[in-house]
Symmetry: C2
Amino acid sequence: MLNERSLAITQECQDCPIRHRAVCARCESDELERLEEIKYYRKFEAGQTVIWSGDRMDFVGSVVSGIATLTQTMEDGRTQMVGLLLPSDFVGRPGRNTAAYDVVATTDMVMCCFRKTPFEEMMSRTPHIAQRLLEMTLDELDAAREWMLVLGRKTAREKIASLLTIIARRDASLKLNTIDGPLVFDLPLTREAMADYLGLTLETVSRQISALRKDGVISLEGKRHVTVPDFNRLLDEAGDDADGGMFA
Amino acid sequence: MLNERSLAITQECQDCPIRHRAVCARCESDELERLEEIKYYRKFEAGQTVIWSGDRMDFVGSVVSGIATLTQTMEDGRTQMVGLLLPSDFVGRPGRNTAAYDVVATTDMVMCCFRKTPFEEMMSRTPHIAQRLLEMTLDELDAAREWMLVLGRKTAREKIASLLTIIARRDASLKLNTIDGPLVFDLPLTREAMADYLGLTLETVSRQISALRKDGVISLEGKRHVTVPDFNRLLDEAGDDADGGMFA
DNA sequence: GCGCGACATTGACCCAGATCAACACCGAAG
DNA sequence: CTTCGGTGTTGATCTGGGTCAATGTCGCGC
C-alpha cells in the first residue's frame, strides 16, 4: 500500500482548479512561482483522518479536490461538526502549531500543502496572501455565524432543509448550472455526519429526510442522490428569507 | 438630548485602554498618528441599536468600553446572538458596505470608529493593521466554532455553565485577578439575552441558573451579581475539559 | 451465492426543554 | 406612596426530538 505522504503529483499552479479561489488567488505569477517551490501535495482516502485535534501541525494547505470535515468532540463522545472543507478551503492556522479540530476526509481528497514556517515567512512578505486569507477567514466567520442560527434556533426539519440548501448552492456554483431548473446533486455526507453537522441524531435526520421526501420538497434515488424540483420551496422550508440571492 | 454622533471625546491613542488588544495593537507610533487623524468616537446608551442588519455601514471600529451584541433574526422573530462584543473587539467588515447583523449596545458603550474608505486605504498600506485584523478574525472564528459545539450538543445546564465560564474568564482577564480565589462578577446580559445567546428560552435560563445556585455551583446576590466559589467545578458543569488552561 | 458489516429506515416510548400562565421584584414616573 | 413597565422566577403541561430496538438495503470479500 502506497504511503500517502509520498505522492509525487505534479501540478502547475497556473492550471490548478482552485487557482482563483484559494489563498493563492491574488498572487501574481512571480509570487506563484515562489509558492510553487514550497508546495507539495498530499492525498487522502475517504474516511482517513488528516489530523487529530491537539496534534502538532507543521503545515497549512488548501483542499484541491474532495471534501473534509472539521469536528470537535467532547470527552463523552458527543461530536459537533464545525466546518465543512470544500475545494479551495484553507486548512490550518498560521501562528499556531497544534490543530484545534479533528480534520477527516469524507471523500477521497487531495490537498496542496505548505510547510508552516516557509508559508508564514512568505505571508509576511507577500501581502496578497495575507489579504486573501483575511477575506477567506471573514467569509468563514460569516458562515459559522449563519450556522449558529441554524444550530440554536431552527427545528430539525429546517435544519435539514438548510443543509440541503447549502449543498445545493455550492454544487450549483461548481458546475455552473442551468438557471432555475430542478437541482440534482449527491449528498457528500452520511446521515451520521449530517447529524453531527446539525446537532441532531442520525435517526432524526433520517426521519426528516423521509418527511421532506413524502412532502415532495425533495426526491431521492438511492440514499444519496437528491433532486430538488423547486429550490424556493426548499429555501422556504429552511426558514431563510426566500430567494437568498442565489441566482442573482 | 445630546446627539450621540457628535461627541467630541478626545483620547490619545497612547493612553487608550484597548491600545494593546485592538486592531491597532501592532501599530508603531507613526502609524498610530495617522490612525489618530481619521478616528472619531461614538457613544451609545444601554439598549441603543448601533446598526441594523442590512443597513448601509460606512464605518468600522473598535469597542472601547461597554458591551454590545451581534444578533441575527428570522422573519418570525426567533433570534440568535452570534457574537458578544467586548472592549477591543472589532465591528464591521472591510470590503463590505452593509451590516450583516444587528449590533446593539447592552451597556453604555464607547466606540472608536474609522470611516470605512480611509480605513481600508490605510489597511492596504500598513500591513500591521491587516495582520492584527487577521489574527483577531481567526480568534473570533475559533470562538464561533467553540460556540457551535455549545449550541449543537450541550444541555441547558451545560450551556449556562459555559456562558458563565466565558464571562468569568473574560472578567478575570480584565481585572487581572487573584489566582484561584472565588470569582466574582456581574452578568452583563438579561436572562433573555442569555437565552438568545444559548439557543434557549428565558424560562429555561432562569430555571437552570436557579438549579446551579441550589447545587452550590454559583451563588447570587440580586439577579446579576455572581460568585463562583470553585471555578473548576463550573468548568466541569460546562462539560469542558477541566482546567482549560485559564491560569496557565 | 452467501454472509458480513456499514449505512439507513422506522417504530415505540420517554424526557429535556418549550410553552402557557401566574406572580414577585424593583426602580422610575407621577 | 402608588402605579407601572421591565425583568425575573416558578409551576403545570405539552411536544419535538432523543433513546432504544428491530429491520431493511446494499456492496464487498470469500
